[in-house]
């Protein structure tokens, strides 16, 4: 027997429909609304000590207040597990469930489980948090799947409540948070590979060990309306740095960026700059560093007044083998610096 809190929106808590979507965070002892269904599933294995609810609109208008109020209520009850949803296909509700679970897991170190349809946009948010204490179960798209969703939630909550060491997403049935953990397989990779190929050739079922993903798409910033008035900077992942590598960049997996002055410099003379990068043959770059920082062309554009000004620093990180999360952070830091310096646009030179 363990205690849990069930988190629901105003509608599934039975407080009201869209007309009540503005109500702040509230709590009632014991199960109400859909939480009654959950309690039924538990029988005497677990006790829903309270139902926490919020208006869908309220949560999105006042997320800070909503999270603080929810934390305040939940903290006093010291639950062993928190269940949120199921949110099915509802984006607002789904996001509130994920944000609340993330906050509870962080602040109270309580395992949390939510449930929603795989196409709910909040599934992406859940993945991005990579929080090992938060779990998400797949459901149907609509509340027609309520009973099976509550059954799955109850079963999963009991696993969490038992304090068991939770296994992989595949073994436990939750949606992967994109955390890849090293383990030892039963058999060598070669044997697994040959078996998988034979199964595939016979049209028998097989399970990939590494599901495909998709990269984020970046929306470009709007085009510059008047280039003649624009200050232009250069960002390069080529690894071109002052000769001698003063900031000790590595040839791979760098975790920081630097900017170097090109104020008053008319061209990138060979011997003054070198490429620190492990992913391409740098000899041509050392012979002509303009391939990484095209200063000659940009100075010409400046003289011809095609651009207003070249920013007096260029930005660099040797991009080789950069982990996406690190490079994303570096990109944000460089973008912030460019904004602060009043740069309008940047040429991004990769190799």
């Amino acid at each position: 027997m363990f205690n849990l809190i069930h988190v629901l929106n105003q509608f599934f808590a039975g407080v009201g429909g869209e007309d009540k979507a503005d109500i702040p965070v509230g709590i009632k002892p014991g199960p109400i609304g859909a939480a009654r269904g959950l309690q039924e599933q538990f029988g005497d294995r677990a006790r829903v000590v309270a139902t926490l609810f919020f208006g869908d609109n309220y949560f999105h208008q006042y997320p800070k207040e909503a999270l603080a109020a929810a934390l305040n209520e939940a903290r006093q009850l010291q639950p062993h597990v928190i269940v949120a949803g199921p949110a099915f296909g509802s984006g607002r509700y789904g996001l509130a469930c994920v944000e609340l679970c993330e906050m509870f897991a962080q602040a109270l170190s309580v395992p949390c489980v939510t449930a929603m349809h795989m196409e709910n946009p909040a599934v992406g948010t859940y993945r991005d948090y990579h929080n090992p204490k938060v779990y998400l179960l797949p459901t149907a798209e609509t509340a027609a799947g309520m009973t099976s969703a509550l059954t799955a939630l109850a079963k999963f909550a009991c696993r969490l409540g038992s304090g068991a060491n939770m296994g992989s997403a595949h073994d436990e049935g939750y949606v992967s948070r994109g955390i890849r953990q090293p383990v030892l397989a039963q058999r060598p990779g070669v044997d697994r590979g040959i078996d998988m190929l034979l199964a595939k050739c016979k049209n028998e079922p097989f399970l990939t060990e590494l599901p495909m993903e998709a990269w984020d798409q970046t929306t470009p910033a709007p085009a510059i309306s008047d280039l003649k008035k624009a200050t232009i900077a250069v960002i390069t992942t080529s690894g071109v740095v002052p000769w001698g590598n003063p900031d000790e960049f590595r040839t791979f997996r760098n975790t920081y960026w630097r900017k170097y002055s090109i104020a008053g410099v008319q061209s990138m003379e060979p011997g003054r700059w070198e490429a620190v990068h492990g992913g391409y043959d740098v000899s041509f770059m050392n012979q002509n560093p303009h391939f990484g920082v095209p200063l000659d062309a940009l100075r010409t554009l400046e003289v011809q007044r095609i651009i207003a000004k070249l920013h007096p620093f260029y930005y660099v990180v040797p991009g080789n083998q950069g982990a996406p999360s690190v490079i994303r952070r570096i990109g944000q830091e460089i973008a912030n610096d460019l904004l602060k310096e009043g740069v309008d646009a940047s040429l991004l030179v990769s190799t």
């Binding site: 992989s168 697994r192 590979g193 034979l198 595939k200 043959d281 996406p324």
Partner: protein
């Protein structure tokens, strides 16, 4: 084409006064074996050391590892185009010394400061957490410790190291001529069983067309902007595929790995039982343009089609954008009706939450993960460091520090350990999603 691989196990190596193989013991006379090497002006100094599995020892400056072999029957000799003429190999009988390897541990500064042609070396711990991740830690290692003359160009350094290690390995294997092996394995593709699916091995190989050595050679010839090439797997067993010995990196195969290619061995084990192994396509990858990547992918698929392959085991070696070539090959094969399984290591960053792969295609729906290359590793200090210098350079960049070989190390990836990345599914490592 039938090759018999005769096994001579080695349980002990003694540096003594004679050169002989007897009762799984290899007794070696260092002066005699290395006498030839000292005539090579590119080599300043050469000596041998024996390091045992489980010993609290770290081998440093590793450039390559090779298994001693010799052909005793059939045409040609091992390492054709390097130790001897370009004579086709893969037939007859070849002796191998198993349970041991020759490690080339060479000090070489290099003339190139950075980039893909920069010299690199790796380490091998024979005990502890470092040993757990490298298959080489289970072999008795005969370390050939080399100091090269100063100022050698990369290709001269490579040739000197490679000749030294291959010649030494050859001399060791030669000690078994006329002796009776403990076991003989037969490798023969023969005729296909029409009831079994035909499977091809597609081996993507990152090479650099502009380097003095391209990273990989076939009969001693560096492979550059090559299109798909059909190689008989037996050729590998006789040393037709060799590597750049100035770059010892955990995600590149050593000569030993090519001689003992686990996917080739696995397909041979299943050959004519569950499948027909129809051969290996060596696919050069890391074309500089997407156009090039598309061409090599289609070209490789065409060759697999010409071999009537129903399925392809696809693997690769290297890192970075070469993986795009690999994924486009998977896509091209799948679209042409050839079923694929991709065998690859994954990235994932320190905590396993970064992207496991660099490029995705929806057709790659069957992937074997051989574990992450990015996880950090803490290595305790060894009692003994074996190598040409007491200091090592773990990172290779202009101005990177030298650290004592006998210190504890924090590695931010597995590639500094030779064999530290399981490129071809030899081991049991994998990753699962949480």
């Amino acid at each position: 084409m039938r090759l018999e691989l005769a096994e001579f196990p080695v349980n002990e190596i003694i540096l003594g006064s004679e050169n002989r193989y007897r009762s799984a013991t290899l007794e070696l006379n260092q002066d005699e074996l290395l006498g030839g090497l000292h005539q090579d002006k590119r080599i300043e100094n050469a000596k041998l050391a024996v390091v045992l599995p489980g010993e609290c020892a770290r081998i440093t400056h590793i450039r390559d590892i090779v298994e001693p072999r010799i052909k005793v029957r059939g045409q040609g000799q091992v390492f054709p185009g390097i130790l001897g003429s370009v004579t086709p190999v893969g037939e007859g009988r070849t002796h191998r010394l198993s349970g041991m390897a020759v490690v080339a541990a060479a000090e070489y500064e290099g003339t190139i400061r950075a980039g893909t042609a920069v010299q690199r070396s790796a380490i091998l711990d024979m005990w502890g957490p470092g040993a757990e991740i490298s298959h080489f830690s289970s072999l008795i290692q005969l370390v050939l410790i080399l100091r090269l003359a100063k100022g050698l160009a990369e290709i001269d350094a490579h040739t000197a190291i490679q000749q030294a290690e291959y010649q030494l390995a050859f001399q060791l294997a030669k000690l078994t001529t006329g002796l009776k092996p403990s076991a003989v394995e037969v490798f023969e593709l023969g005729e296909a069983d029409p009831l079994l699916p035909s499977i091809v091995l597609i081996q993507g190989c990152l090479t650099h067309s502009g380097h003095p050595h391209s990273n990989l050679a076939y009969y001693g010839l560096p492979i550059r902007d090559s299109l798909a090439t059909l190689v008989h797997p037996n050729e590998l067993l006789d040393g037709a595929m060799t590597v750049d010995t100035t770059r010892g990196i955990g995600y590149y195969p050593t000569t030993w790995d090519w001689q003992n290619h686990p996917l080739v061995m696995g397909l041979y084990r299943s050959h004519r039982k569950q499948l027909n192994f129809v051969g290996m396509i060596v696919e050069r990858i890391r074309f500089e343009t997407h156009h090039g990547k598309e061409v090599i992918a289609q070209n490789t698929m065409r060759m697999a089609k010409a071999l009537h392959a129903e399925g392809a085991l696809v693997s690769w070696l290297g890192s970075g954008n070469a993986f795009v070539d690999v994924m486009l090959t998977v896509q091209a094969c799948e679209r042409a009706g050839i079923k694929t399984v991709l065998v690859t290591y994954e990235y994932g960053g320190k905590d396993g939450v970064d992207s496991p792969l660099l490029y995705y295609v929806p057709e790659a729906n069957a992937v074997i993960s051989t574990g992450s290359r990015d996880r950090w590793l803490e290595l305790p200090p060894p009692d003994r460091a074996v190598g040409p210098n007491e200091s090592i350079q773990i990172l290779t960049y202009p101005g990177s520090p030298l650290i004592p070989a006998q210190s504890s190390l924090t590695l931010d990836a597995r590639e500094m350990i030779i064999g530290g990345v399981d490129i071809w599914g030899r081991g049991y490592r994998t990753c699962v999603a949480y």
